[in-house]
Amino acid sequence: MAKLTPFFFLSFLIISSSLAFQSDEFGLEGAQQQTPTTRKRYSDPDSDSKVQFSLEHAFGDSDFSPAGTFSARLKSWSHGGKTLTKLRFSRNGFSDEEKDTFKNLLKGDDFYRIRLPSNVISPPGKEFVVASVRARCLPRDGLDEHFVIHMEGANVLAVSYGSLGACQYPRQFKLPAKWSFNSHTILKSSEQAPRTPIFTEEILGGENAEGEVEPPPERSFWAKYWMYLIPLGLVVMNAVTQATNMAEEQTGGQAGGSQVQQSARRR
């Protein structure tokens, strides 16, 4: 029988190509893209449509302000479900003022917070989805950030936000070399649980007979009486040595006799 539990249903991971290309782009165009874009929706008559939703950030306890825009294709399926594909992200660079606030965050080891609307079609939906990270976790060469957006249809469930790698504790104060963002985004939807396999009776019976058999009676006998049997064994062994010694003694005469005596004392 073939293995029935492979992971058939892999998640739909769409890793938008980001890396150096995008960070460069932001470094250059960040300033021009500042305008807090009104979220445009191109409602295509087709099943595909484009959506945009904005990322907002806050420094410590400040108010949220726009920080970037996500754009993606919204695919409507015939069964009524909607999924987001081809996510693109354009990040606004920090303004000078924001750089200063961020430096303060780094000094105070405070939180850098971001938020996304919980519904991408009619933002903000029920409520904003908030995530935060200690500011000191972000700086590497540039500012490394990593978004994992958990989707359920057109709804954003949660966003995980943080640096790409580890964040050492205790966190060191370190200013970024470049004030540009190095963004990585991942869209994640729910993984389907594999179906519980149903085996045929035959295998079940066979396996049961082999694997879950009750402990045999001898075993439980041993398990129960080992503390009696070991002394008994000792007695028997004692007797055996005695008997052999006796035999020796009969042949070996006096020397053997004294040995018996000794061995008897030893025990």
Binding site: R113, A166, T196
Partner: protein, 981 residues
């Protein structure tokens, strides 16, 4: 010798590889376990004290139990626990041999045989709407076929034959705005009167022929004003109603179908009148009204005229009236005075005639008297004697007779809401508790008896003696700590706000205390925490528990903290904290110099408060201020929020122990597709012995052991109802594992076509959850194990030796988690009420899942059955490691029910606590019943069993020594003869 050693090793391998299935021998029942049966707070009581037969009382309770109790000793003759949704509305005795119960809002009528509790018949009644439910069983001692039981419920009046439960007729009263208030059938009359209010402003009386159900006459009369719902039937043709202003009593008389109203202002009866309330007792031609905290008795005259006859100033509990000899009617009232209660039985017609006046000393910790039920008997001098069944504020049930408490039952224990454990005091030097232990001769005698038993030589009397000895053995009910940690206290908080300490040895109540508060009379208890557990320092302090309660049922009502000494049960202090209590968070690992644990309490304003309020605690807390996070689950909105500490809320209040918080993360579940049905975290005090798991191919897997994991299960809103109410396509179950510091979703798995309820257990790095699969029409159990990948490179021994590993590096939640999960699903043949897991002192012993099944039993299932590494055909190496071949369903081995033949009726929760002995864990299950046992999931590998025969060992040693000497003597002799040869 070498051979023996080899044999011994072989044996050890043998024993350890055997599949350990927990089971008991018949004679071991009751050695480690105990079981207590309860019924709950009594709502109704009907006495059955005929001359012949045993005297009993039939009770129905708030735990939906109908039971028959022995009036002499208070034991349960029989009892039935109805379902949680099957609340009992009324109970009565019909034909002198059947107990009739009406339940489920008047839609279920059942008859039970009075002597043995067998069900005689059951009738399901049609119900169309929510309404009052009324049960009326005509008092008729003669066996008369003609009369019927009248049941009103769900908008219909039903007449049911008491003999076989057959529905005789039914009358529809579901008309819009019509509320039936009373159904009366005068004695020796074939007319049933049904009184109801139409839109609360018009009284309508229907006269119905009791044989056919035909409406004979219908009369109605409009009332200038509105009625409130409160009504008291004072006689066969009169009722008294309170109007909606609560200041006028209206007597409605409907003699011969003519309705007449007569209004009486309450202010004309008493001077300082306020809002009035009609009390429940049914008194003939009289009613009890509560005005301004005073109880006044109002007599109803023949013409419907009301006059006040008596008033009682303090809170008094009253019984219904009871006919005594010579057409007289009596009732009982009980009131408190200091530590005594006074029971008075008076005639209704003549309040000056006191039939009985008794004063009884009453334990302060029972609170006030809540309900009284009386019954009379004829004494030998032909006078009337009375016995009273009283229900106290702590839900306990007592029978009073002849000025004494005949018996009492601690029914508060049927509604345990929270449980924690506590240690017993250490045995002090000088106070020798061991002196009750027997002498050496007794000890030897006992062991010889045991030896006889194990060699099957014991006579039946010996067997009895052995059993008795075992039950009493080794001071298991002593009030001191023992070496193995088998003796402990379980502290249980009940719904009535009473705290009980139960001894694990025999289940007796060591102490009990009713919570008090300076702010309100009786705070309701919410939860229980270990406050002070003297461990290293402060050994001379007594341990204490923290009880968090609140004044009132609303979540915004002010909270009350109460600290109770575990050794004595005395309330050390009780404070009104002045803010509400939404969430109580014990801070892990934070204790002050007296080993008091630091707790944070969140209120409704989003502030958190630190307890204990000492500068020392504040200092400890402020050191870790930056690293304290908390979360809350808003189940109705489907939002989980994480918070971090912000600052002291000094700006708003002067309280320096109050802190503001800020929102750090949110997880928002879309309301159209997901609804939170279950959340769960690991037990904060759980011990994990090893972080690594070595698999068969010498590979190491590191467990992802984090204290900050939250398991959440959501279902589609449609699927939140009953199982089977949706199609598989409409329902999906999604489970999440969320890091509560950063809000990251670490694992997310959706089960299509599955439905709750979800019962889950979370321990170490795994979660096991139970749900219903609509496609397969079966219950399923899924296990998820989480492993850490960031430490996976630490497999190289050289790295470990040279210290180039990251095992000791601090782990930050802000690092991107590198982890993977393994999961597997199995079918489970039973519905589940609760799941728990065993916990041991060091976490070395393998774990068992304790599954509370729908049959109110507890099944112990080895964790090895829910291991995602199970495969269909395990290799030899895997088999040696103990991996069980994969099967599609989990086995239920009848021997592994730890409750053996018992049932923990109404099972609600299972609590486990480690003993000091690593192999052993305490298990305490509560519901309507209580059950305790000690479990050894991998058998007691670190101690000899109780029935280990020391005598046999001793005899063996003696025999060995003797044999050695004999052989020595023999060999000496032989040697000598050799020499002489």
């Amino acid at each position: 010798m070498a051979m023996a050693l080899r044999l011994y090793l072989l044996l050890i391998v043998f024993v350890s590889s055997a599949i350990v299935s927990f089971s008991l021998y018949e004679d071991q029942v009751g050695l480690m376990d105990w079981h207590q049966r309860y019924i709950g707070k009594v709502k109704h009581a009907v006495f059955h004290t005929q001359k012949t037969g045993r005297k009993r009382v039939i009770v129905s309770t708030e735990e939906n139990v109908v039971a028959s109790l022995d009036l002499r000793h208070g034991e349960i003759f029989w009892r039935h626990v109805l379902g949680t949704k099957d609340a009992i509305d009324g109970v009565d005795i019909a034909l002198g041999k059947y107990v009739i119960t009406l339940s489920s809002e008047g839609s279920m009528l059942r008859a039970w045989n009075l002597p043995d509790g067998q069900m005689v018949w059951e009738t399901s009644l049609h119900s169309a709407q929510h309404s009052k439910s009324l049960l009326s069983v005509p008092v008729n001692l003669k066996f008369d076929k003609d009369y019927s039981i009248l049941v009103f419920g769900g908008g219909y009046l039903h007449a049911v034959s008491p003999i076989d439960g057959e529905l005789l007729w039914k009358k529809d009263f579901t008309a819009e705005g019509f509320e039936v208030q009373r159904v009366l059938q005068p004695l020796e009359s074939s007319i049933v009167y049904v009184l109801g209010f139409l839109h609360s402003s018009e009284a309508i009386v229907y006269q119905i022929d009791s044989k056919s159900g035909e409406v004979v006459a219908e009369k109605s009369k409009a009332f200038p004003g509105r009625f409130s719902g409160e009504i008291s039937a004072v006689s066969n043709d009169k009722v008294v109603v309170l109007d909606s202003t609560r200041s006028i009593l209206v007597t409605i008389s409907f003699v011969d179908g003519e309705i007449s109203f007569q209004k009486t202002l309450i202010s004309s009866l008493v001077e300082d009148s306020g809002e009035a309330e009609i009390l429940s007792p049914l008194l003939s031609n009289m009613l009890a009204v509560k005005v301004n905290k005073r109880t006044i008795f109002v007599r109803v005259g023949d013409q419907g005229k009301l006059e006040m006859v008596d008033s009682l100033s303090d809170e008094t509990a009253m019984s219904d009236s009871l006919p005594v000899a010579d057409d007289q009617v009596a009732f009982a009232s009980v009131h408190h005075e200091g530590s005594k209660i006074h029971l008075t039985v008076k005639l209704v017609d003549d309040l000056d005639t006191v039939l009985l006046r008794e004063s009884i000393q009453m334990d302060q910790h029972r609170g006030r008297v809540d309900r009284v039920f009386i019954n009379n008997y004829i004494k030998t001098d032909r006078s009337n004697g009375f016995r009273a069944l009283i229900v106290m504020e702590d839900h306990s049930l007592l029978l009073l007779q002849q000025g004494a408490i005949v018996w009492s039952r601690e029914e508060g224990l049927a509604s345990v809401t929270d449980v924690t454990t506590a240690e017993l005091p250490v045995e002090k030097d000088g106070v020798s508790v061991a002196k009750v232990e027997h002498t050496l001769v007794d000890w030897l005698k006992g062991h010889i008896l045991k030896l006889k038993g194990s060699l099957l030589l014991a006579s039946p009397e010996d067997v009895v003696a052995i059993q008795e000895m075992r039950m009493k053995s080794s001071g298991r009910s002593k009030l001191t700590r023992d070496h193995n940690g088998f003796r402990k206290l379980f502290i249980a908080l009940t719904r009535a706000g009473k705290l009980f300490a139960l001894h694990t040895g025999d289940g007796r109540i060591v102490w009990s205390t009713l919570l008090n508060s300076p702010a309100c009379a009786r705070p309701s208890g919410i939860s229980l925490y270990q406050w002070q557990v003297p461990h290293h320092h402060a050994m001379d302090e007594n341990p204490s528990v923290l009880v968090v309660g609140r004044c009132g049922s609303d979540s915004s009502s002010p909270g009350v903290l109460s600290f109770v000494d575990v050794y004595t049960g005395k309330e050390i202090s009780s404070s009104d904290i002045g803010h509400s209590v939404v969430q109580v968070m014990p801070l892990p690992l934070f204790t002050d110099s007296t080993e008091q644990r630091l707790h944070l309490i969140a209120d409704t304003d989003g502030h958190v408060h630190l307890y204990p309020k000492t500068p020392e605690a504040l200092g400890i807390f402020q050191r870790e201020f930056q690293n304290v996070y908390w979360y809350n689950v808003e189940g109705d909105d489907g939002i989980i929020r994480g918070h971090g500490m912000k600052s002291s809320c000094a700006g708003e209040t002067a309280d320096e122990y109050c802190f503001t918080t800020r929102e750090l993360w949110t997880v928002v579940f879309p309301s159209e597709s997901e609804k939170i049905i279950s959340t769960l975290t690991r037990k904060p005090n759980e011990v994990v012995h090893t972080q690594a798991k070595v698999s068969t191919d010498q590979d190491v897997l590191y467990k992802y052991v984090s204290r900050n994991l939250l398991f959440v299960a959501t279902v589609s809103p449609k699927g939140a109802g009953e199982i089977g109410s949706v199609t598989p396509e409409e329902s999906a179950l999604v489970v999440y594992l969320i890091d509560t510091v950063t809000g990251r979703i670490l694992h997310r798995l959706s089960h299509q076509g599955c439905q709750g309820p979800v019962h889950a257990v979370f321990s170490e790095n795994w979660v096991v959850y139970h749900y219903f699969n609509l496609r397969a029409h079966k219950y399923e159990v899924t296990v998820v194990e989480i492993y850490d990948q960031s430490r996976a490179e630490n497999k190289n021994v050289w790295k470990l030796v040279l210290g180039k590993h990251n095992l000791t590096a601090p782990i930050s939640s802000y690092s991107r988690p590198e982890m993977f999960t393994k999961s597997q699903s199995y079918f489970f043949p039973q519905s589940v009420k609760t799941i728990a897991v065993t916990s041991t002192a060091k976490g070395i012993t393998s774990k068992q899942l304790l599954i509370g099944t729908i049959g109110d039993q507890i099944l112990a299932l080895d964790k090895r059955f829910v291991d995602p590494r199970r495969t269909l055909n395990p290799s030899q190496a895997e088999k040696e490691e103990g991996i069980i071949p994969l099967t599609d369903s989990l086995p239920i081995i009848p021997q592994s029910y730890i409750t053996h033949s018992l049932k923990v009726e109404g099972l609600r929760g299972i609590v486990t606590a480690p003993a000091k002995l690593e192999s052993t864990t305490h298990v305490f299950a509560y519901g309507v019943d209580l059950f305790y046992t000690r479990l050894a999931p991998s058998k007691t590998y670190d101690s000899l069993t109780d029935d280990f025969s020391y005598a046999l060992l001793l005899i063996t040693i003696v025999a060995l020594v003797a044999a050695i000497y004999i052989t020595w003597a023999l060999s000496e002799k032989k040697e000598l003869s050799e020499k002489w040869r």
